[in-house]
């Protein structure tokens, strides 16, 4: 069935197709250029990214180094769960964090039933949409993105890109070395649904809290935006 269906479908498509050579098709696509992207809400990238994360109902902590990152995560865990446990993938960058300094007890692996928090280390942050990007692999089990009640995502300031086009450049570049990942996830907020009477509810199938920890030399103004929103939320 598959074979004859395939040949029949391609035969009818060839009738309507232009029958152009590969070079011509690719040249025509190239001539169409790239899509316009929206202007960021601020000129400084961290500020723009943070504003968009907040718009997506995320919360943000800004930290300068790994030690501060661990402290901020510990603080978040205690504030929400009164303990210091979380699950995270086998990411060497996460393995090398000074967890003990803040008493955090990470379990490295894939989220299991009853575990409410997972931490992912994003490959990229997209300023345009306030999204973080992860791709599947040992370092980022999919369950850690989609099953916890709270999803914490660490993202390096150096990994912020302005647009989704720039994100693809970086993704394709990374895959040249490693091969293509099975899944690439742009995550822009906690899971939500407005299916019942158009009332927005957070925490549908996935996380109901989404917390981004931005790591690096983040300007004071951007930090202030994040902390002001944080104090609004608590």
């Amino acid at each position: 069935m598959g074979g004859s269906a395939r040949s029949e479908i391609f035969a009818s498509l060839r009738k309507t197709g232009r029958g152009e050579t590969q070079e011509n098709v690719q040249r025509e696509r190239l001539s169409l250029g790239s899509a316009p992207a929206p202007e960021p809400p601020a000129t400084e990238v961290c500020e723009a990214f943070i504003l968009n994360v907040l718009k997506n109902q995320g919360s943000v902590d800004c930290v300068s180094n790994r030690s501060e990152a661990v402290q901020a995560i510990a603080h978040y865990l205690y504030a929400h769960f009164h303990n210091y446990r979380l699950v995270t993938g086998n990411d060497s960058r996460l393995g090398a964090m000074p967890w003990r300094d803040a008493g955090v007890l990470p379990r490295f692996g894939s989220l299991e039933a009853g575990e409410p928090v997972a931490l992912s280390y994003a490959r990229l942050g997209v300023v345009e949409t306030g999204a973080v990007v992860t791709w599947t692999g040992k370092a980022t089990p999919a369950a850690n993105n989609f099953l916890p009640k709270h999803h914490i995502v660490l993202v390096d300031k150096n990994d912020l890109v302005l647009t989704m086009e720039k994100a693809w450049e970086r993704i394709h570049h990374a895959f040249e070395k490693t091969g293509r990942a099975r899944g690439i996830n742009f995550i822009a907020g906690p899971s939500s649904t407005a299916d019942i009477e158009a009332e927005l509810v957070y925490g549908a199938h996935g996380p109901h809290r989404w917390h981004v920890v931005l790591l690096g030399d983040v300007p004071v103004d951007a930090r202030n935006i994040a902390s002001a929103a944080g104090s609004d939320q608590t």
Partner: protein, 474 residues
């Protein structure tokens, strides 16, 4: 799609009488356009983006044979099995075969309009499989034994009270508080979580296929599609051949249009790209992945004058803005695809003979085209379908003769003007005292609902000519 669509008028009349549902449609008709407008107003380049994506879509469809085969090659390279299906029956059989090869008993489904089109759920269920829709709205619709009434918000027609009652009846969970909407969502998701964890097969749709790297794009807010794509051992992606785009950046450019037009967001919560089975060292993900690519009249539509409807990105904006859809709701169309886009697509996927009433569900207000992010000339396509309907003599003879008469008169302006002057004159004289008519010969369609106002003396042309004469005399 086996439904008959000659029931549109009866369905629409019944829907208009259901005031509770009409209230909810009124809410969506005011709320959805507002959030869409706000999202678009805050993005200055939206018009340019729309034109850019339109060109990309046209280019992709012009070279669909090339891009589809490129997609197939890349998807196979990524470790997928790619199947083609000429029609719904073939798609259903391919999917069932895969399920049976794995002795699967449970299937978790993400939202997929294409599998609604093919009737996959009932097909799999009749073969003994347990199939669960996992999008909250789709799950409710499935539990109620109904069909979605909107392509983005499928359970728009049901109130929270009705859903509460449904859950009390269907979920054997004892006494509990389901007072808030969030209680209902949590309960649905808890029930579904069990199913996710037990399902052997996950089925999802795709918003786009990417030729250059063989990935599919999946856009959701709930994340249920991602659970379907990641938890079961086998993943089947069902979509149609026309969804292919050349590059990854084309898919995300399209998602910029989609999220803003559908839900007023700059980006949906989850925009995911999947291709192929679990890689070495991965802790989760399917062990086997399939793409099933359906034609079902798309290649014929591509060869027709209606090919632009294939550029639809299923955002639902034309439904939310359509005065007919927002008055009668999705079920009146008795098709998986309601509203303006459905009134074009359904006759093309079934036949005009079966569905010729749908292109008439249009006031020619033009709003659908104005808001369509894919820039599809929906009113023109609907008009052309009505023209075909008339040419094929599918519309009522009285209507066709009336149209013929109208077209003859429009081509003979002096006769047209003379006849309208006579009838306006008569109506003016008869109606000037009462101000309107509650009955009129040939006008019962109007007067059965409301008074027909008596015209002023003289036609527009008469006044216009007098004005010109006066101006020339000055």
């Amino acid at each position: 799609m086996e439904q008959r669509r000659d029931t549109f008028i009866d369905n629409a009349s019944a829907a208009l009488k259901n005031l509770k549902q009409a209230e909810r449609r009124d809410i969506i008709a005011s709320f959805a356009p507002q959030i869409r407008a706000a999202a678009i107003d805050s993005f200055e380049g939206f018009g340019d983006l729309r034109s850019h994506v339109k060109k990309i879509r046209q280019h992709s469809l012009d070279n669909l044979d090339y891009y589809l085969s490129q997609f197939e090659k890349e998807a196979v390279h990524n470790g997928n099995q790619v199947h083609f299906a000429r029609d719904g029956e073939e798609l259903n059989s391919v999917v069932l075969d895969i399920c049976q090869q794995h002795d699967a008993r449970r299937v978790a489904k993400g939202k997929s309009i294409v599998t609604e089109e093919t009737g996959l759920n009932s097909f799999l269920q009749s073969a003994g499989l347990s199939v669960m829709e996992t999008d909250v709205g789709e799950y409710i619709v499935q539990q109620a034994g109904e069909k979605p009434s909107h392509i983005v918000t499928p359970v728009l027609h049901k109130s929270a009270d009705e859903i509460r009652e449904l859950f009390q009846e269907k979920h054997d969970l004892g006494p509990r508080d389901l007072h808030n909407t969030s209680d209902l969502v949590v309960e649905a998701c808890n029930v579904l979580r069990e199913h996710f964890l037990q399902a052997e097969v996950g089925i999802i749709g795709a918003n786009a296929l990417i030729a250059e790297n063989g990935y599919c794009m999946l856009v959701t807010n709930e994340g249920n599609g991602d659970l379907c794509a990641n938890l079961p051992k086998v993943l089947i992606v069902c979509t149609t051949i026309d969804r292919v785009l050349p590059r990854a950046e084309d898919a995300t450019a399209m998602s910029r249009l989609l999220a803003r037009s559908a839900t007023g967001q700059p980006q949906s919560c989850y925009t995911s790209f999947y291709s192929g089975p679990r890689r070495e060292g991965e802790l989760d993900g399917p062990l086997e992945t399939h793409f099933v690519l359906l034609d079902n009249e798309r290649s014929n539509t591509l060869a027709s004058n209606y090919r632009e409807i294939l550029e639809c990105i299923r955002c639902g904006a034309c439904l939310n803005h359509c005065p007919i859809y927002t008055s009668v709701g999705g079920h009146a169309y008795d098709s998986v695809y309601p509203g303006p886009m459905g009134s074009v697509l359904t006759p093309l996927l079934t036949s005009l003979e079966q569905s010729h009433l749908l292109p008439n569900a249009c006031t020619s207000c033009g709003l659908c085209e104005e808001v369509c992010p894919a820039d599809i000339p929906l009113p023109d396509l609907l008009r052309d379908l009505r023209h075909d309907e008339s040419t094929k003599k599918l519309s009522a003879p009285r209507w066709r003769y009336g149209l013929k008469l109208h077209s003859w008169l429009a081509r003979h302006p002096s006769t047209y003007q003379a006849l309208t002057a006579i009838s306006i004159g008569i109506l003016y004289r008869l109606g000037r005292k009462r101000g309107g008519f509650s009955k009129l010969p040939f006008g019962s369609g109007w007067t059965s609902q409301r008074e027909f106002p008596a015209p002023q003396e003289g036609t527009f042309m008469k006044l216009y000519k007098a004005e010109i004469k006066q101006n020339n005399g000055r």
